[in-house]
Amino acid sequence: MMKKLLRMSKITKSFYGVRVLDGVDFDLDAGEVHVLLGENGAGKSTLMKILSGAYTLDSGSITLMGKELDPGTHDPRSAEDAGIVSVYQNFHLVPHLSVAENLSLGRFTRTRGFISWKAVQAHAEEVLARASFDIDPKARVQGLSVSKKQMLEIAVALSKNAKVLIMDEPTAALSRAETAILFRTIAEVKAKGIGIIYISHKLEEVRQVGDRITVLRDGLAVQTLPARDSDVNLIIRLMIGKGVSRTRVERDRTRGESCFSAEGLRNRNLPSPLSFSVEKGEILGITGLVGAGKTELARALFGVDLLTGGTLALFGKPVRVDSPAEAVRLGIGYLSEDKDAFGLCLNLGVKENVSLVSLARQRGLFFSIPAERRVATDLVASIGLKIAGVSQQVKYLSGGNKQKVVFGKWLTAKCRVLILDEPTIGIDVGARGEIYSLIRDFAGGGDRAVLFISSDMDEILELSDRILVMTEGRVVAELDPRKTTKEELMQHSTRVNRGDG
């Protein structure tokens, strides 16, 4: 029997007492593509970060080509030296330099202290020829297409004598044609005896490119099965498990009146016209995988990215949203998944953050500082913020509390349509429940509606009154959460667009 290229056995890892990986076994043959599948939070990234040395394992062992790696000295550098290389999106590349320069980065051939450009060029040609990649060594990296950049990433990895390549969602930013090129590249890499660990959500693609599939769920390796003739429905069932009993809270809601609607929206990120309507009191769930266009839709609705076509209407009246300031004026709020970058002024206090939108909507020169403090204090009590005081700088808050502050700033501004983009990412389970009740309370409070964007299908099913599924920038399904299942959502989300192929 052939010796395994890589064997990870009984890998266990906990964060803050929460077990993220629980005795996971995973192995990889030379020249094999082994797919790692699982929902968000199943433990895929953690497992790969342990392999690439970013995290230290709690227990278990990693054996590479029959040699056990010492967990004490295993770090990103030693992992790369041993031949474990991750191919991130343009992570290793310097955009302003040429392909040849990127391939020699950090190891330029020198003659008498000066870089020998001839040698650099020759090295690049050799590496690219060995990998049979069609890239001009003189081209600047920033001018390359996404798939060429990815090839170059792989070439860089190969030039580092990679034995194991980790590819995380490599097709997320690729067109169909580019995906085909990537798959050819992968075949060439395989032929050199290099093992590839391939992470993707796109099930059909995974069955096409993979040799074996291992499904992770809640930190356990559930099953390993051959990729090619596996049943998609079986894989989905393995990924989501028995289906946890959901705690849907049905809310009373009078149906009918439209709160916010869009007709034929399009811009450079949303190639085909997109329409939807949210009623008063409704939570419209929008789901889909990473790269499905959900965030792009949110940004278009909030006036961040400009529309090239389509109309919006608020309470039946047509509106133009050409800037975030205009959206805010109209009473539209936006909560981004990256709260630190887009939601908070980190070195300002809780009350300063909470009042920001209200101040932006006000007129006049002055504002009332006592009123600001009072509103913030009331808010803290009503949304259950755990802070030392309303003047505390938000940078010292936990993820859940930070998100509540962002939520609070839209609540105090009395906005009427709230666009929530992955509001529970990076937030622990306890705080999640609290965010859910905030969302329900908001939607239930009169002439308001929520667009609830999430790739976590459990929470989409739990919270939404209606669900839209997006893939590749378009809405592919509209479903009733009471009548649908996670399997169905996953099938719609993972379906590669068959319409125009």
Partner: protein, 328 residues
């Protein structure tokens, strides 16, 4: 278990900083302590230091730097920088001086100076927001333009005979309080109110802390930024009239190196070069420190050229200390 940890986290946070106002006050207090130590040391080294004459001299010298520093405080809190203040100082003074020599009206002259300063500020603001030139480069370019214009307008020759300006620079209210002192107090009181009690002031902090989050909160970021640079240009123009009043002349080469002193005053006061932090009171203390260093070096008979070196060192030291504080 989780509950306990969260509460600990919250109290650790509050221990380090109990809000915006808290930090600023602490920063101002520590700077005040440094200032007092400097005064004590200088008083020991030179009996002349603590005379009434010299203290008035320090206030007069402080006035100009403190005023420009007040404008610069807005710019730096918003996360920007204005390198053009020294040249704008000269050019708006020259324009005012020309208006005075042709109209003999002090009011018109002062108005012209203020408007010229504000227009330069507006130009900086437009460069940064509309053309999206980074503040460092945009105001560096304006530094050259304003200096060149100042020299062109008067052919490089100073404007003399501005005796009527003297009241602003040397006059005394009720024969006791120097007019420049009154002007600084008014400027700083206004700046304090704007920064702490108006929407504009709050937006200045918010933009410096996170411009993108501010924009997504509905703040018209560009408009606020333009306003900030206008304020900086305006007070720079006003400051130039104080100096013109002290010397009774206007020099197209004046204000040279004032950007270094004004930025120094703000940074020494504890504003962060990353934006979002700083206070107007701290800038005043910073300006007094900068002036005290100059004055002290003079009194101790140190070659004037060394003042540039010391100022540079002090600014670098203040920013390095800020970075060190952040890393911990």
């Amino acid at each position: 278990m989780q509950e306990v940890r969260r509460r600990e986290g919250a109290s650790a946070g509050s221990g380090r900083a109990s809000g915006l106002r808290g930090i600023l006050r602490n920063q101002a207090i520590s700077m005040l302590a440094i200032l007092i130590i400097m005064w004590v040391v200088l008083a020991i080294l030179s009996p002349y230091f603590f005379t009434v004459d010299n203290l008035f001299e320090i206030t007069l010298q402080t006035a100009v730097i403190a005023m420009i520093g007040a404008g610069m405080t807005f710019v730096i809190i918003s996360g920007g920088i204005d390198l053009s203040v020294g040249s704008v100082f000269a050019c708006s003074a020259v324009l005012g001086g020309l208006v005075f020599t042709s109209t003999r009206s002090l009011t018109l002259a002062l108005l012209a100076t203020a408007v010229a300063g504000a227009l330069f500020g507006a130009a900086n603001g437009l460069l940064i927001t509309i053309l999206r030139v980074p503040p460092f480069i945009g105001t560096l370019g304006m530094m050259g333009i304003a200096r060149g214009l100042a020299l062109i307008f008067v052919n490089g020759v100073p404007i003399y005979g501005l005796e009527r300006y003297k009241f602003i620079g040397q006059g005394k209210l009720f024969n006791v309080i120097p007019v420049p002192t009154v002007i600084i107090l008014v400027v700083f009181a206004l700046a304090f109110v704007v920064l702490n009690y108006t929407r504009f002031g709050r937006f200045t902090y918010a933009i410096g802390s996170n411009a993108e989050a501010s924009r997504l909160s509905g703040i018209k970021v560009r408009r606020v930024q333009i306003g900030i640079y206008v304020i900086c240009g305006l007070v720079t123009g006003l400051a130039s009239t104080v100096e013109a009043g002290r010397l009774a002349i206007v020099q197209p080469a004046g204000g040279n190196g004032y950007e270094l002193l004004a930025i120094g005053a703000v940074i020494i006061g504890g504003a962060s070069t990353f934006g979002g932090e700083g206070s107007i009171v701290a800038t005043l203390i910073g300006a007094i420190i900068v002036t005290t260093i100059r004055n002290g070096l003079n009194i101790l008979g140190v070659n004037a050229f060394w003042q540039y070196v010391v100022n540079g060192l002090v600014i670098i030291g203040a920013v390095a200390a800020d970075q060190f504080r952040r890393r911990r």
